[in-house]
């Protein structure tokens, strides 16, 4: 079984209250971190090998070290705009253990030398935002946020900012524009946010789960944390499993266990009598895998080698009762709706992909349309300011490759139905 860190106390009644959290050992890591220099905290994060849990998997310690030293205004933004289809781990963490996130934010702020922190939470998470509002007030009253935290030289302000419903604001530069009160359009990179981010200042952006892991790293030490999981993907990960499984939910696992264990042993596998047809290992933006890939170890490098990615750590299982075209169309429509429209390949590519899929479904397409659709995906990837377009192109492209026969059969049956 896996080691539990983030979800060890998750169902402890009243954990969202600061008294219960402290009784369970909460804010001890913060005291420990504040007694260390910021370089020493950074070194622990680096030694832990922790990779970002939001999607890109960038080493968290290195990201924090990119911020320039000095006395300028620096910012920390916690990305709680969890909108990747299939992902709901941050929601559960914020709802049940908000103080773990706040503790992580203060530790990260200390490590990066930041004085202003924001949590950008998606507007739909109003229940969780209210819980966080309360938790932040409690943390402030107990001296964990504010001027000279616990008598140390560290000061931090923390503001909870509610979004208003836009997937693109989960992209870090789109999020910054949105936090500055604009439409959430991604920015040209470089300059990267670590150099020029919020209000033009150096900005560190981390996912909720990444920050919530930091108290545990400080508690056990980076070297010990690095021993969990496998080389290149250390630690534990909260995996959201949904779709055609009997027990959908969040499960904390040691990285590197076989994916089959997560889908079958933890989430119960597909309903009786049905087989896994395809699955997304890391949210709907990840290239799909099939039943043949179920034994791939669930970690960053193994999934990349299998042609997909760990992404946000959300497994969506689709069984053989659902046509692949339905899945593709659902996804393409989502990305068409959420494209901000700034870059042409994404704005037009998502739109035309939807239209071509509808043509296949209506029996009006020719087999050549599949090739055109595949080439549209190729032309999106890498040609936009952000990866929203890629996030459609990768799964749809992989579906065309892996389920070409089914697409063609679907088209043929629709054409026959139309002829009669």
């Amino acid at each position: 079984m896996s080691s539990l860190l983030l979800m060890r106390d998750i169902d402890e009644p009243g954990l969202a209250d600061i008294a219960v959290y402290e009784r369970r050992g909460g804010y001890k890591s913060l005291r420990k971190a504040l007694a260390m220099t910021s370089d020493a905290v950074l070194a622990e994060l680096d030694a832990s090998g922790l990779r970002g849990r939001g999607g890109a998997g960038f080493p968290a310690g290195r990201k924090a070290s990119f911020l320039p030293k000095g006395d300028m205004d620096k910012y920390l933004v916690c990305n709680a705009d969890e909108s990747e289809p299939g992902t709901f781990k941050d929601r559960e963490l914020m709802q049940k253990s908000p103080h773990m996130l706040i503790e992580g934010i203060v530790i990260a702020a200390h490590a990066a030398g930041v004085n202003h922190a924001f949590i950008y939470i998606r507007g739909e998470y109003e229940e969780q935002a209210k819980i966080l509002d309360l938790a932040i007030a409690q943390a402030r009253a107990n001296g964990y946020i504010g001027e000279r935290i616990l008598g140390s030289g560290v000061s931090l302000s923390l503001v909870l900012h509610r979004g208003a419903g836009a997937y693109i604001c989960g992209e870090e530069t789109g999020l910054l524009d949105s936090l500055e009160g604009k439409r959430g359009n991604p920015r040209l990179k470089p300059p990267f946010p670590a150099i020029e981010g919020l209000y033009g200042g150096p900005t560190l952006i981390n996912n909720v789960e990444t920050l919530a892991t930091m108290p545990h790293i400080i508690e056990m030490g980076g070297a010990k944390y690095a021993k969990l999981g496998v080389s290149g993907s250390s630690g534990t990960k909260v995996v959201s499993v949904s779709g055609h499984v009997t027990r959908p939910g969040n499960y904390e696992i040691d990285l590197g266990i076989p994916s089959r264990e997560i889908i079958y042993d933890l989430a119960g596998g597909p309903p009786a009598g049905r087989q896994v047809k395809l699955w997304f290992p890391g949210g709907s933006s990840a290239p799909v895998l099939t039943a043949e890939d179920l034994d791939v170890p669930y970690d960053f490098d193994s999934l990349a080698k299998a042609g997909s990615m760990l992404g946000s750590g959300a497994i969506i299982v689709v069984d053989d009762s659902t046509p692949v075209l339905d899945v593709a169309l659902k996804l393409a429509k989502f990305y068409r709706h959420e494209s901000c429209g700034k870059c042409t390949p994404c704005r037009e590519g998502t739109n035309w992909t939807v239209r071509m899929l509808e043509r296949i479904d209506g029996g009006e397409a020719t087999p050549m349309d599949l090739d055109i659709m595949a080439s549209v995906q190729d032309h999106i990837i890498g040609n936009c300011l952000c990866v929203l377009g890629d996030a459609m192109a990768m799964p749809i492209g992989s579906m065309i490759v892996k389920f070409r026969d089914e697409f063609e059969a679907h088209l043929q049956s629709r054409q026959l139905a139309g002829a009669i």
Binding site: M7, I10, D11, D73, S83, E84, P85, G86, T87, F88, D90, R91, Q95, K96, H116, G123, E124, Y125, E126, E127, V159, H161, G163, A164, G165, A166, Y167, S178, L179, E180, G181, K182, R183, G184, S240, V241, S242, G243, H244, R247, P248, G249, N250, Y251, E252, L266, A267, G268, S284, A314, I316, V318, T322, D326, V327, K330, L331, F334, E338, C340
Partner: protein, 228 residues
Amino acid sequence: MSPSNGGGAGFEYNQELGGRAIPRSRDGSRSPGWDDPVDLDKDPAAVPDPALIDVPPELRREFEEIIGRYPERHSAALPVLAAAQRHHGWCSPQAILQAASVMRVTPGYLTSVATFYDMFELAPSGRHQVYVCTNISCSLRGADELYAALEAAVDGDPDINVRHFECLGACDIAPMVSVDQVYYGPLQTSDAERLVADLRAEREPLPELALALRPNADAALEEDEAAK
């Protein structure tokens, strides 16, 4: 040929569409024609004069409290618009004008922001917002049927606004709905009638299905294993 958008007449609201705020110039198009000159005599967009705009005092206080949270006042755009929408029921031209006058920005700026985000209502909408998640994980578990059942149960009642919404981040309780910002699930298609009836009777809808009551999946796993 006279410019179709000349004379500073600007945009008018289309009453035929139930007063929905679709800006149109005189010839019916949404922007000046391709060959029409830009109206250089028109005044540039201006920040509304606070002395001329009536803002309800409690709303002004809320706006000012929100603006005070940020080092830069523009950052308050989303929460200020949300507060204006809570007060007025939707982001009406009046709501945007009031928000703009307190934020010291142009109404056009706030309109450009409001049209970007899905949670801002750009037309009058019902008192109750029912978001139905119809993204991949929920649709695999019957969300499209649930949406159809809800639409049928609401039957055009303007008080209840049923909307498709993209992944609401609660795939563990799929198919699910967010009713006035509170999550409920998993729902059966047959729950649709009861949900709408509860809303009409001003009761909490489907209280036993509230997300807040649900333990983590690991606990469910233990129960399942204990049952075996």
